[in-house]
């Protein structure tokens, strides 16, 4: 069950390159295992964060202060594209990330964020670029605030921007709702649909087949 998200004021790290895919967020071999959760934070952005000899890449933003403390990512276009691996979100969560602000996200990654109590915010690229520039001009010290109830982002200098969010997802994050439990409350509707569908599309339900 996801942790509720209401508001946050935190260090924000800009990662502005385009098309940062979920393979780059977390390599697949870190996800091969029966219980990988809790082991992933160390490996988030591994291919950018570490040099071939395993040492930290001092150039990478999350290896620098104060960005090591970042709880917000400011991201370039199409962040989280590619693979559906939810491990990408888990690894960011374990790294301490709670919100991501970008001009667009991979659709599956975007959905996975909400499932884990991480707030992905889509705003115009001009706003994203402006936030990144402001944060960089303070060497990362300037905090970015996110208020989900009011649907606003506040930049380090106090500029406020509002953002849109699906009301259902907003409510889910604010309360930390368990979607499985909620849907199971509608099980009678699901079973009624299936009963009608067995008549309408019997082949979907393998009617008359012993398979």
């Amino acid at each position: 069950m996801p942790k509720p998200f209401t508001k946050l004021s935190a260090i924000a790290a800009p990662i502005m390159r385009s098309n940062v895919d979920t393979d780059v967020v977390i390599r697949i071999e870190r996800l091969v295992g029966t219980s990988v959760r809790g082991t992933l934070g160390k490996w988030a952005f591994g291919s950018l964060r570490y040099l071939p000899d395993g040492s930290e890449n001092p150039e990478f933003i999350l290896n620098r202060e104060p960005y090591r403390q970042a709880e917000i990512l400011i991201t370039g276009p199409n962040f989280g594209c590619g693979s559906s691996r939810e491990g990408a979100v888990w690894s960011l969560q374990e790294l301490g990330i709670r919100a991501i602000i970008g001009s667009g996200f991979g659709d599956i990654f975007f959905a996975n964020c909400f499932q884990n109590g991480i707030l992905p915010i889509v705003v115009d690229k001009v706003i994203v670029d402006g936030l990144a520039a402001e944060v960089e001009s303070t060497q990362g010290a300037g905090r970015v605030s996110v208020d989900l109830e009011e649907q606003t982002i506040t930049s380090p200098s106090g500029q406020r921007h509002s953002f849109e969010i699906d009301p259902r997802r907003r409510a889910g994050l604010l309360k930390g709702l368990d979607e499985v439990a909620l849907t199971l409350q509608r099980d009678a509707e699901i079973r009624a649909f299936q009963a009608a569908d067995r008549i309408e599309r019997p082949w979907i339900h393998f009617a008359g087949k012993s398979a």
């Binding site: 502005m16 390159r17 385009s18 098309n19 895919d21 393979d23 780059v24 390599r27 697949i28 071999e29 996800l31 091969v32 295992g33 029966t34 291919s47 071939p52 370039g76 276009p77 199409n78 594209c81 590619g82 693979s83 559906s84 691996r85 939810e86 491990g87 979100v89 667009g104 996200f105 991979g106 659709d107 599956i108 959905a111 996975n112 499932q115 884990n116 699906d166 009301p167 259902r168 979607e179 499985v180 849907t183 199971l184 509608r186 099980d187 509707e189 699901i190 649909f193 299936q194 569908d197 599309r201 019997p202 082949w203 979907i204 339900h205 393998f206 009617a207 008359g208 087949k209 398979a211």
Partner: protein, 469 residues
């Protein structure tokens, strides 16, 4: 009320609505849920820990593909890979879910076996914890990848809450030139609209080139939808679709078949249906494609050049191209053809079907893989492996110096220890050229099976049109 034509997406979507959740969000019924070794047992264990049963085990099917080795006897499957396989066996069996195990017909890459077994049908809503689930859209299904949490939701409820996507229609018009395949068309489209061009959309592929295209090509087209950002890609079913499905193991039969086909004939988008975005591609201008960079949108015709950052004014774009060229170890402005390769990988849910293997074999026949190149052929399923062998393709490939492997995802995502070594360069028929996708610091060029085979023979990225017979 204005009566407007409906799209293929709208028809399938509406059929699956259990309940409206909000204006644009619905609780949808899932007709087919496919599980694989990487996330399948984890989802089932998650359910168990919540004391919940699988809602509809008879609509759920499993096979190992991601973490198993493609070596003979599956030697080389890691200890954790073996544990995941064992977990899938135990948990599917405990829940009454059919599993197609290694060495059995039915096993294979999950997006290859769904169509092959007749599980994936027109009008069907199919999900799987894998982003290339869009592949099944090639049969006129609404199919998309989901994450682990959604996977658990589907196991527990046989349903999913989804926001209705926008619609995009891509028309591929004209006849394919020599040496050009479905893979080249879809790579060219990604180059045209970009890796985020389809984000938020369900894409319907149409036009004369799609109508003329065999089903396996349509599956390849839909497979790469996610690489243009669209989690759903689909093609209206037609006579070719029905012919492909008829008689398959799980396909409806007899009177049920007639009823199903009758229903499927109603699915294609109405002539007056309106799409949120339309793109038209003249396929006659497309030549064999190959990627040069670290996103599928970094693609050129095989006669093209690596871009020169010095010629790009926009600083963000210039920096992105510099990063890609640096990672790929290429020279700005150099021709892509003739770039020496170390590896060739023919396989994956994109291009491992029988017609893909035949196209590669046609180029490989009577020739030899260049010295210093390792070339693998990994059939998409146990059935394809057997069918190919019955045609003698296994021997043809091994005679030419290719390695003939056991079915699975293998080197496409390198979750099974099968990797391209750091700094080495591969021409791959798979779907992603991301940083480290085929192994840490591996360099991947995406191309069609014919181009991959031609490159294996040449020892460098090659123009298949000069090697056709």
């Amino acid at each position: 009320m204005e009566k407007r034509g409906r799209t293929l997406l709208a028809k399938i979507w509406d059929q699956h609505v259990i309940a409206h959740v909000s204006d644009d969000t619905d609780l949808l019924h899932v007709d087919r849920h496919l599980l694989h070794d990487l996330g399948g047992s984890r989802g089932l264990l998650d359910l168990k820990s919540r004391n919940l049963p699988v809602h509809d085990p008879e609509l759920t099917f499993a096979t190992p593909d991601h973490a198993i080795s493609s070596a003979r006897g599956r030697a080389g499957t890691s200890k954790t890979g073996q544990e995941l396989l064992e977990g899938l066996r135990v948990e599917t069996s405990a829940s009454g879910i059919a599993m197609f195990d290694i060495d059995e017909p039915g096993q294979g890459i999950v997006h290859v076996i769904g169509p092959e077994l007749g599980l994936s049908l027109p009008g069907c809503l199919i999900v799987c914890g894998d982003s290339h689930t869009c592949t099944h859209g090639g049969l006129g299904a609404l199919a998309f990848g989901i994450g682990s949490s959604e996977l658990t939701h589907v196991l527990a409820t046989q349903s999913l809450i989804q926001r209705r996507p926008k619609t995009m229609r891509v028309k591929f018009e004209g006849r394919l030139s020599s040496g050009v395949t479905a893979k080249d068309l879809i790579l060219a489209l990604i180059g045209h609209v970009g890796a985020a061009g389809g984000t938020g959309y369900a894409v319907e592929y149409a036009g004369s080139a799609i109508r003329d295209m065999p089903i396996e090509g349509r599956l390849t087209i839909c497979n790469l939808s996610i690489e243009l950002g669209a989690k759903m890609g689909m093609i209206a079913p037609d006579e070719k679709t029905y012919e492909y499905i008829r008689g398959r193991r799980y396909a409806p039969q007899g009177e049920m078949w007639q009823r199903a086909v009758e229903a499927w004939r109603q699915l294609p988008s109405d002539p007056d249906a309106v799409f949120d975005r339309e793109v038209v591609i003249d396929v006659e201008t497309i030549i064999p494609q190959v990627t040069w960079g670290i996103s599928p949108e970094h693609v050129v015709g095989v006669d093209g050049y690596v871009p020169d950052p010095a010629e790009i004014a926009d600083p963000a774009r210039r920096a992105a191209i510099e990063t890609a060229i640096d990672y790929m170890g290429l020279k700005p402005g150099a021709p892509i053809i003739g770039t020496p390769v170390d590896w060739v990988f023919i396989g994956s849910c994109t291009n491992s079907r029988l017609s893909d293997l035949r196209a590669a074999a046609e180029i490989a026949r009577g020739r030899k893989v260049a010295p210093g190149v390792r070339a693998w052929v990994v059939p998409g399923s146990e059935t394809i492996k057997r069918e190919a062998a019955a045609e003698g393709l296994d021997k043809l490939f091994t005679d030419a110096g290719f390695e003939w492997r056991e079915p699975g995802c293998s080197m496409c995502l390198a979750a099974n220890g099968e990797i391209v070594a750091p700094g080495q360069r591969s021409v791959s028929t798979s779907n992603r050229n991301f940083i480290g996708r085929q192994g840490p610091r591996a360099r991947t060029h995406l191309a069609s099976p014919a181009t991959a085979a031609a490159s294996a023979i040449s020892g460098a990225i090659a123009d298949v049109r000069t090697m056709e017979r």
